[in-house]
Amino acid sequence: MDAQYVRASPAVAANNPVDRLASLFDLHYDRLYRLARRLTPNADDALDLIQETFLKAARFPRSIPIGAREEEAWLVRVLINIRRDQWRKSSVRDRHDKSQAKGSQLAIGSANPEATLIARTAVWKALDILPPRRRAIIVMHELEGLAIPAIASLLGITAITVRWHLSRGRHDLTHALKAYMGDAQ
């Protein structure tokens, strides 16, 4: 199957799948890590996420489109989908309880550096209430500075959907982070 495909597709014919994967890895690893780290609670989870993404790429080399932008979009979508699967596994109640508990505990401290660190962690934890795709949209918009049309084309959805996710995400985060927004005044 793979061999047939390689022969049928001149663009890939030069590279064998291993080279293809290696170049994908070199080209997109940093970008994927930035996204993965911002979608996950810690660096280990981010690395796992990237690993799974590249495993998927290794399994299905022929479903990856040609061209840097297309590759990036494919990898980003796969990564978000994998994250979504992981996210669905842990129950909503777990997430809710966790974020509530952290919130009340963290509103206490204010000035010392330790409290700042804790608050920072808590804000990051609060992101866990967002479904991964919405979280990715928030991350790309607020942290990566991507414009709405760019996000839309990267994820293969309409700009309106992106805008809707942004506003829902901001709304949810505002609720969850009310304490910190006031606290940091």
Binding site: L47, E52, D85, L127
Partner: protein
């Protein structure tokens, strides 16, 4: 008042953490099976759960099947009642005697018509080791009236043969040395399975 954007920027772990070494990535050979597209496939853990569930279901089905089969088999065995009769026998033909061939031999004996004991006179039957290796017999215990009938019949027949019939077939023709009372042993060159079949069959009323 901080905006969401500012809060997120403050909390962004990429600002505080060193970027990971790319060599942390190790390709794994044991890739999970999945569909050939970029739609999400179930993650490994969920797939394992499915595999384990499937295995459990198969084991359960196997156990149920085995149970049903064993019921079926034991039903067959239960239904295969064996008619058990003991008659007096003579070596020579005579008036009122019927010739009968002894199973697994060329011999014939001459049976009295009267049935001494039958299935209803038996309390229990069990498989006992027989005369040789992997040969089995069946030990039969009679109830009080059965034992009395046996004694009465065999008392006057010492030195002569008695015939044990299973399903009308003469299987054993022991020569009586003493009167027989409460129990009798059917020895024959039975396999264990045959002996069990007989022992189970003759206790069925």
């Amino acid at each position: 008042m901080k905006t969401i954007k500012e809060l997120l920027r403050d909390a962004d772990p990429l600002r505080y953490e060193a970027p990971p070494d790319q060599r942390d990535f190790h390709g794994q050979a044991d890739l999970a099976a999945g569909t050939d597209d970029c739609k999400p496939t179930p993650p490994l853990a969920r797939r394992w759960r499915i595999v384990v569930l499937a295995a459990l279901v198969m084991i359960a089905a196997f156990l149920v099947g085995a149970r049903v089969w064993s019921l079926f088999v034991s039903d067959l065995r239960v239904q295969a009642a064996v008619r058990f009769e003991v008659k007096l026998a003579e070596e020579k033909p005579g008036p009122g005697l019927h010739q009968a061939k002894v199973a697994d031999s060329d011999r014939s004996v001459y049976l009295h018509d009267e049935v001494i004991v039958t299935n209803g006179d038996i309390v229990s039957a069990r498989v006992v080791p027989g005369g040789g290796p992997s040969e089995y017999g069946v030990n039969v215990e009679f109830n009080a009236s059965g034992a009395e009938k046996m004694r009465a019949a065999t008392e006057n027949h010492i030195g002569k043969q008695m015939a044990i019939l299973l399903d009308g077939q003469v299987v054993a023709t022991p020569v009586l040395r003493t009167p027989i009372g409460a129990s009798a042993r059917i020895t024959g060159k039975f396999t264990r399975r045959q002996a069990e079949r007989i022992a189970n069959g003759i206790t069925i009323q």
